[in-house]
Symmetry: C2
Subunit: 441 residues, 2 copies
């Protein structure tokens, strides 16, 4: 291991055998943490070549259980978002694509973000069970074209161990390591295609567009090298996606969107990603046709119908679709008023995430319990006009004064308002479909 | 600690308090190895500013026992060499300077090199004891102006812990870390002045001149910042110093040099360093006068006399000076013949060190026992003319065939001989007396 640290420190590339040695022996406990953390810091500085990153990712995927989806007939696609505030895309996108004939076998990990993850959002629906067995998962995809499953503990143990170490040694924000962490789980989950939504902006992990682009390129490169059809879309996260930030309020917004009455940006994103997915599936000749089919699935209600089928198949109460008040409801709603008049120029998206976490919508540590009913419902977004005293957001709370005051304090500084009229920001920034990654990242 | 790793990783400078926190809490076991190794790798890549290196060095010096030499009247100088093959300089230099009126309080650490360290060489003299108490050490310097003491275990514990971690995480060759390691021990040893012999070339730790120069500058900078008069000389180590490589055979060569009959290069180095030391002591007006005094101490025999006093004061047999056969003698001498005629162009100095270690002159691990009688006595050095079949070296051995064959194999490829006549290499390459270190190393 000493020689491999030295090699990486000196900027040399490691062979496949060397990469496998590191991942395997670290996972088995034969490489001490202090050598692995030195190696990870050397990777942070020296980077990795395209082939090394692919080897590293596949070695990680090979470190634990891999899901065999071969008994599902046809092509299967997994979708992943690098995470943002108010991102309920999967809840809308997956049923729409399934309604158009695509096979969605979606595995999702536990989330440590400002709000819950996709799993938490689905579990806001009373009775909805994401802890499927592999057999149920496969059976559901075969039967209704869609299933959502909580990632098992046995998937990519190397990533859990490596991530825990990165988290305490300032080696999280290394593009090769981020890409390998995400893609190893996608590879182990067994889908034939992968669609990636890489977020960038002040509410995303990748704040800078250039970093998001690099990450997207590296992930598409890994996917391609590993024989999976992979496409990435780079999207703006300089404000929350849609208006709802929380769990059950995001489910409500997803239902609205499937009904055709959702927020413009969420709608746009689902149509874009859905069109791309239908293209990968071979269910559309081009992106334009794919988008049209997705729009159709909204208009004719087949997406919403598929959502109800999904809920029913996983033990949930499908009546929430017609009656969203069956979703967990908060104790007390509090209107937040604007202290200024003008046009919204800027939103500190990360702070909105933190404010919703303070209200109870997200986890600080892995064992925290989420309050599925709370969150923040925005009334205004970038480019909107506001008048002093007008409601800019509604807090959905559990009535706890301390939390409310702390969240309010966080929230009030998030909006920058001035007198200049501006256009809303562009949502879809770029698409990465083949390896444009530079040779060494 | 996480924030400090991140800060260093991002190339920022740490404050004195932050540096002390790291050194103290790591030494106390409160910072885990995996965080420290990530920090050390970040230092390898990001470097350290002059002030940070000084803070780090002083924090390390403060991590354990410090020697108080204030009861020794007058200025005290410690000498350090970064290590090379055949380096017996201290054995000659220290008595010469003491004979000229300088106070030499020399502490020396255990050596893991190809041959023994200064302590091992002194202990080749029958009866010579380097495990002095602090009281004996101070008393001897006060009485005869010179004492040599084995470093206690309590000196700079932080360095032992950090070095052990660097050694297994490929973070040894970082100039700030090397400088801090060396200088922390010098600071803790309590001398007022420090003279450093920084070796460069194929037998030195710093192979490249530029690296040696940087290291010298950083160490002189630390010494100055810590209030010690510090001078470094950069010297060539592209061939062994003198002809003897071992332990007792190096003592013999040191005695010859004190007698005025030693090798030219060793003589030159001792005169240069000695002149510089007398200048720091204020015992000479300039380097030239200092050198003349050192030469005089050779000619008038006062250096040799001081050496005998030193041996006597530390329990050794001073008769070795007149009768070097009282030193440990090897079992069998083997002449190594040249396979080629011509001029010696190049010597692989490191390989000569390894060959002498194979014969038993050095340690591979800390607990190895050294054979003080064995080693390699060179007959030819760079620029010398040799004839095929002529003896180029004599192995001093314990008669073990396996060791002899292995050492011979190592040794025979060390000499590059061709027909072009060349000049001997320059020994003294540069002198570093004040801070010429760039701001960030």
């Amino acid at each position: 291991m000493y020689d491999l640290i030295l090699k990486k420190r000196n900027g040399e590339n490691l062979s496949k055998e060397e990469i496998y040695f590191i991942v395997k022996e670290f996972t088995n406990g034969n490489i001490p943490d202090y050598q692995m953390s030195a190696f990870l810091m050397a990777v942070y500085f020296s980077g990795m070549a395209s082939k090394e990153i692919t080897d590293f990712t596949i070695a990680m995927a090979d470190s634990g259980e891999k899901i065999d989806l071969s008994t599902i007939t046809g092509f299967k696609i997994d979708k992943h978002s690098t995470g943002g505030v108010g991102d309920k895309t999967t809840l809308v996108l997956a049923p729409l694509v399934a309604a158009c004939g695509g096979k969605i076998a979606k595995m999702s990990g536990c989330c440590l973000g400002h709000t819950g993850g996709t799993i938490d959002k689905f579990e806001s629906i009373p009775g909805f069970n994401t802890a499927l067995t592999k057999e149920q998962f496969i059976e559901n995809v075969n039967k209704i074209g869609i299933a959502i499953m909580r990632q098992t503990e046995q998937i990519v143990p190397a990533d859990k161990l490596i991530y825990a170490l990165r988290d305490v040694t300032a080696t999280v924000d290394s593009i090769p390591l981020i890409a390998a962490s995400i893609m190893s789980k996608k590879l182990a989950s067994g889908s034939d295609g992968i669609i990636l939504d890489v977020k960038t902006g002040n509410g995303a992990f990748m704040r800078k567009y250039e970093d998001a682009k690099k990450l997207a390129e590296v992930m598409v490169d890994i996917g391609g090298n590993a024989g999976r059809k992979t496409t990435a879309i780079i999207t703006d996260m300089n404000q929350p996606l849609g208006y709802a930030v929380g769990n059950s309020i995001e489910v409500k917004e997803a239902i609205d969107t499937l009904n055709g009455t959702g927020p413009r940006d969420l709608m746009e994103l689902c149509i874009e990603l859905g069109g791309e997915m239908l293209l990968i599936f071979g269910l559309a000749k081009n992106n334009k046709e794919g988008k049209e089919k997705i729009i159709n699935a909204i208009i004719n209600g087949s997406g919403l119908k598929k959502f109800k089928e999904l809920i029913k198949a996983q033990g949930g109460n499908p009546l929430v679709v017609e009656n969203p008040s069956l979703l967990p409801q908060c104790k007390e709603k509090i209107e937040i008023k604007s202290e200024k008049s003008g046009y919204i120029k800027n939103i500190n998206t990360c702070s909105i995430g933190i404010a919703s976490q303070i209200l109870g919508a997200g986890r600080k540590t892995r064992n925290d319990k989420i309050d599925l009913s709370v969150g923040i419902y925005l009334k205004k977004k970038i480019s909107d006009k506001v008048i002093k005293g007008e409601t800019i957001a509604v807090f959905h709370t559990d009535g706890n004064e301390n939390k409310i005051n702390e969240a309010k304090e966080r929230f009030l500084n998030t909006y920058k308002i001035n007198n200049k009229k501006i256009n809303p920001p562009k949502l879809i920034l770029a698409k990465v479909t083949k390896n444009k990654a530079s040779n060494h990242i």
